[in-house]
Assembly symmetry: C2
Homo-oligomer: 187 residues x 2
């Protein structure tokens, strides 16, 4: 089960068996069913999640109760309401399953203990944070430079599997267009 995690981490740093045992001791495994919430807006955020299998969405609900998808997370992705997680404040976003999902859970104490106990892990999280920053900036750029059709095509090219796994309504919400407009793009 946690082989995924080791393989994932070792793409960036190498670990001895003892070191991985130490890493592993900070995580607990949890399972969630489709539609279940890992994080609920307004509630405290106890964990950062590493997705073992399944698919989840990070969403923000606006004043008109309209839902906007800030991010998807699938196998080998880390996700949380990071702002709330690091600051210890209440969630402004929710994290919900699109499929039955298995995750590894890491608390903030666990995160800090990992970083201070095994310095390589701080380096690992630094790399991950930088990658997250760069990816988010690329998405900003797609809003600046591209219309709905182009953003849709870029998304499909980059993550073809989403097309199979996620209803188009959800893709529309991620792309920032209405369901109807997305439906009309195919032609």
């Amino acid at each position: 089960m946690q082989a995924n995690l080791r393989e994932h981490i070792e793409k960036i740093i190498s670990l001895t068996d003892d070191e991985f045992a130490f890493v592993q001791s900070h995580f607990i495994t949890k399972q969630f069913s489709r539609h279940e919430f890992l994080i609920t807006s307004g509630q405290p955020v106890k964990h950062t999640y590493f997705v073992i299998s399944g698919l989840i969405k990070l969403i923000h609900t606006d004043d008109n109760a309209k839902e906007h998808i800030v991010a998807f997370a699938m196998e080998d992705w880390w996700e949380s309401d990071f702002q709330a997680f690091y600051k210890g404040t209440k969630a402004t976003m929710s994290l919900q399953c699109l499929e039955d999902t298995t995750v590894l859970c890491l608390t903030l104490d666990g995160y800090n203990s990992l970083c201070s106990g095994l310095n390589k892990m701080e380096y690992f999280f630094l790399k991950k944070a930088n990658a997250g920053h760069i990816a988010a900036q690329q998405r900003i750029l797609s809003f600046l430079t591209s219309n709905a059709r182009e953003r849709y095509e870029m998304l499909l090219k980059r993550y073809p599997s989403l097309f199979q796994r996620v209803p188009k309504t959800q893709l529309a919400s991620y792309l920032g267009v209405s369901r109807e407009t997305l439906s009309r793009l195919s032609t």
Copy 2:
């Protein structure tokens, strides 16, 4: 001159004089005039920059030679084409001065030496990377939830000084709307 840097870093970690001397030794100061380029698209990216004074913009130029502003950076901000900087690849974006600007320059070797030589600095950069990720995600959210007027008002509320320092054409490019549309929002 580098007092800014020390104060900036000590908002997150504390440093002895010796430690700060070590940090300081990794930076060189450079001055650029308005319109000058710190990074040119297609060229190697030698540095990450810490802005001492002035104002710069991170831009991407699309196929139609239209310029899009990915980020502004003013006093106490870090900026670069991070993807190219960390990977050692050629820049896909440019970094250009909107005002006469003084920056501290850090090479990739310097960055790595800083992180390995003084562990607190790795922690510092981790915090900064996380903050960058969260800020970028907030901007994505503004594209998903808000129209041009709302994004404009949010920007002015958050960074009122930009309104004084930057022509509206540039603000429009940052917000992802045309100059004309922005001009008509005021009413």
